[in-house]
Amino acid sequence: MSRWQYFLRRLFLSIPVLVLGATATFVIFRFGPIDPAAAIVGEAATESSREAYERVREQLGLTQPVGTHYREYMTDLFTLNLGQSWVIAPGTDTLDLLLIYAPRTLWLAFWAVLIPIFIGIPLGIYAGLRANTAADYSISVFGIVWRAMPNFWLAIILLGVLSQSSSLIGIDWSSLIVDTPVTGPPDLSNLSSPSGFLAATKQILPAAIVLGSASMGSELRIARTAVLETINSPYVEAAKANGVTQRSLVWKHVLRNALVPLVPTITNEAFLLIGGSVIVEVVFGINGLGWLFFTAATNGDIPVVTALVFVFILVVVAMNLIQDLLYVLIDPRVGYEGN
């Protein structure tokens, strides 16, 4: 099987995943233990509320026969006709909600991916190059602990420290460099101006550090292992024997090859951030997609929840495909090792 056949196979396999995922959301919508119409109208005690209940059921398509409803539901989902919210923002299209809430999550995710890459990987490489020294051990332990710390705990500790920062560490966080509140969503309206960019970045930074904490630990660990593996491989020995300088050995022969396994790790980690964003957004009061999902789920806004789940599946499938594509481009061995 050639590399591109491998990629095509992955592409085809993602179609049934999407269909099955969408079907699962339909099952939740139609047969789930929470009746979406009842959650919207509330107790159907009076005559008028019972009428309202029936009206909502009809609008949601619940009165149709299952087959017709399923067909309509699936067509709607795959044409991104995601319906509208009924409970948390009545009458707003889910797509509009997505457009309002997504940028904040994207901004958060951007920094949560970037920070681990620029801190975790260099630390891991440093530790790998100085394997089994005191520096290596302390970096490794730091990575392990950093990775095991639960996000929700790290978030509230950081929040607590930052909100009392002037008395605890002597620096007042909220007035540092630019004035920003400790919690709340970042203002993304004037990212193009330097001060606006700085404010938005500073505002998101604590949340991004928390969200990226586990990724940083993982990337640190894998960078260290990758460096260790390449540094002990025969071609590095050979290069060393040929008199290649230490500097060029590290930069050219070790680092380049060590970076290959890091690419899928970074994409994998980025995928895991979607889930973690719920807790971080809830704690830091950032009303992004995770917050939207949590609020919709706990309020029984089933139409929004099912639509969001479908969108998440879509994003994840797309990210997996990008990862496969990167794999195919970077690693010529893909597809040849059997599967």
Binding site: P33, I34, L154, T225, L272, G276
Partner: protein
């Protein structure tokens, strides 16, 4: 070559075995009453359950077609058939051979099983009809009273043996505590006794294994010796083992480790009382725990805060301080450990069972079966795990499943249902490799059934992976449970859960009541790190070739990032 059997070897050199068994009896004896107590509890609930089950089967109910009675009868019939199927291949004689010589082997087996099932059913009916059950009850009652008597004896780690709850009178002496020691010392002593007891157990088990190896084992060397040896030099894995043992002790001995009982602290504070010495009246007064708790809250400022390692005004010692509602944090945490562990074990057991079964199926049959499993697994893994957990716990919270064990069983089922693909993905590769081995092919050509091949020739090679990944996954599951209860989902109050303690202390992180969030969080981090370390150690011990293999990327399971 004929070699002496284990019995012969035992007879030749009985001393170590006898010493070991005596030591075991001693260890068991120290805790006999709590074991008897557990038996009484379990026996009582089994008897109650049986009573209610069999009470539903009456002749009238069955002839009237009552669904419950029919359901129970059907389950019983299936149970008997299962017993028959299990017994038949292990018994050397067969009735059906006389009747149906021409039938195939499988059919004869089935026939035999049905015969056994019918016989069992007849015996059961006759014994109920003839009142044999009552006879059993009469015969069992002395045993029962004996057990109950045993359960009331003190045992080594019980709260009654080393009580730590008491009061200090004006002259400074303590009353009600162990030997008049201060509650802090008495409690520390009890904790030390518990851990020493567990340590003795572990040491004794290790000694038993070692003696077995040196005195009784036939082979001088087995591959498992190498695994043990690798683990003995694996410091990181040993660290994990210690942490996991501490956590397990915490969960198992929760009633002894708490400074007070769960009933008094968490579930029914207003139906329990404590005595304290009132300085103003100069007398010993009685107050309900609930009322006392209202005056020992930790809510962020000096006047209302009971920090770690301090006494409150009712002379109660709080090693970890109190919660926002005045309850003891340590008692909350040790019982929370129990809840986490139970749900964790249940869900990991379930998902490991699913994952193993599916891995065997997909490796043995491949093709379509494999493809279907790949797509199902990919779909489940396609939704970020925490979002799926939030969605499902919210969806099913109001159903009957959500009410068992304060949502714990539901949570375990959901965790298993969403967690098996991750395990399955880790098992699939090794299983595929095993299925290509020659012995599998050989077994197939000898006419071994697919289930037989999977069970006898493939499953044993998966056990190592099962251990490694279960350990790695358990840490992640404990994190997920804590994360959900932090969000107010999953396990509902009053059942204690670590994540809820973190949530309760959320507003007080930077105040004098910092302990409420900080201590549970540190414990979660430590336990998760411990399970990770144990998993790493087991992996290096069982499968040293996989060491440092970047492709085995199952680490995403037990990391803090998901929650």
């Amino acid at each position: 070559m004929d070699s002496p059997s284990l019995t012969d070897r035992l007879r030749d050199n009985p001393t170590p075995a006898v010493v070991w068994v005596l030591g075991l009896c001693l260890l068991l004896g120290a805790e006999l009453s709590s074991i008897a107590g557990a038996l009484v509890d379990a026996g009582g609930s089994v008897a109650n359950g049986l009573d209610s089950v069999f009470g539903a089967i009456t002749v009238d109910a069955v002839t009237a077609g009552d669904p419950t009675a029919l359901l129970i009868l059907g389950t019983l019939a299936l149970l008997f058939l299962g017993v028959g199927l299990a017994v038949v291949p292990r018994v050397p004689f067969s009735l059906s051979r006389r009747i149906g010589e021409h039938l195939s082997y499988e059919r004869r087996m089935l026939l035999d099983a049905v015969i056994v099932a019918v016989a069992l059913g007849l015996v059961a009916t006759v014994s109920i009809w003839a009142g044999l059950v009552d006879l059993l009850r009469v015969g069992g009652s002395p045993l029962w009273t004996g057990l109950e008597w045993l359960a009331e004896r003190p045992n080594l780690t019980s709260r009654e043996l080393i009580p730590n709850e008491g009061y200090q009178v004006a002259d400074g002496t303590w009353h009600g505590t162990f030997l008049g020691l201060s509650p802090a010392v008495a409690w520390t002593l009890r904790v030390l006794v518990v851990f020493a007891y567990v340590g003795l157990w572990l040491g004794w088990l290790w000694a038993g294994y070692w003696w077995y190896r040196t005195h009784y084992r036939q082979a001088d060397w087995t591959p498992r010796d190498d695994m043990v040896q690798r683990l003995r030099t694996h410091r990181w894995g040993q660290f994990g083992m210690v942490v996991v043992c501490l956590f397990l002790t915490m969960a198992v001995f929760a009633p002894s480790l708490g400074t007070t009982t769960a009933e008094a602290d968490i579930y029914a504070p207003f139906s329990h009382t404590i005595e304290y010495f009132d300085d103003s009246s100069g007398e010993v007064e009685t107050i309900t725990v609930g009322e006392a708790n209202q005056q020992t809250r930790s809510v962020g400022y000096e006047a209302e805060n009971v920090g770690p390692l301090s006494y409150d005004q009712f002379d109660r010692f709080h090693p970890f301080g109190t919660l926002t509602d005045g309850k003891d944090l340590l008692t909350f945490l040790v019982h929370g450990a129990r809840v986490s562990l139970l749900i964790g074990l249940l869900s990991v057991g379930l998902s490991a069972a699913f994952a193993t079964m599916f891995a065997l199926i997909s490796a043995y049959y491949r093709g379509l079966a494999d493809l279907v499993l790949v797509i199902t697994g990919d779909t489940i893994m396609g939704v970020p795990r925490l979002l799926l957990l939030i969605l499902l716990t919210v969806l099913f919270a109001e159903t009957w499943l959500g009410s068992i064990y304060d949502g714990g069983v539901l949570l375990a089922v959901i965790l298993a249902g969403t967690g098996w693909p991750y395990l399955w993905r880790s098992f699939r590769g090794p299983t595929l490799q095993i299925s290509e081995e020659e012995w599998v092919d050989a077994a197939r050509s000898y006419g071994q059934t697919p289930i037989g091949i999977m069970r006898l020739h493939m499953l044993p090679y998966l056990v190592g992976y099962l251990l490694i990944y279960s350990s790695l996954v358990l840490g992640g599951v404990i994190l997920a449970i804590a994360g959900l209860s932090f969000l107010g989902l999953g396990i509902t109050a009053p059942t204690p859960e670590w994540g809820r303690a973190v949530d309760l202390g959320r507003e007080y992180v930077a105040t004098t009541s910092w302990h409420i969030s900080l201590i549970p969080g540190l414990l979660i981090t430590l336990v998760v790190t411990g399970f990770n370390a144990l998993g790493d150690g087991l992996r290096d011990a069982i499968d040293p070739k996989a060491d440092g293999d970047i492709a085995t990327d199952t680490e995403s399971q037990s990391r803090g990032g998901g929650v």
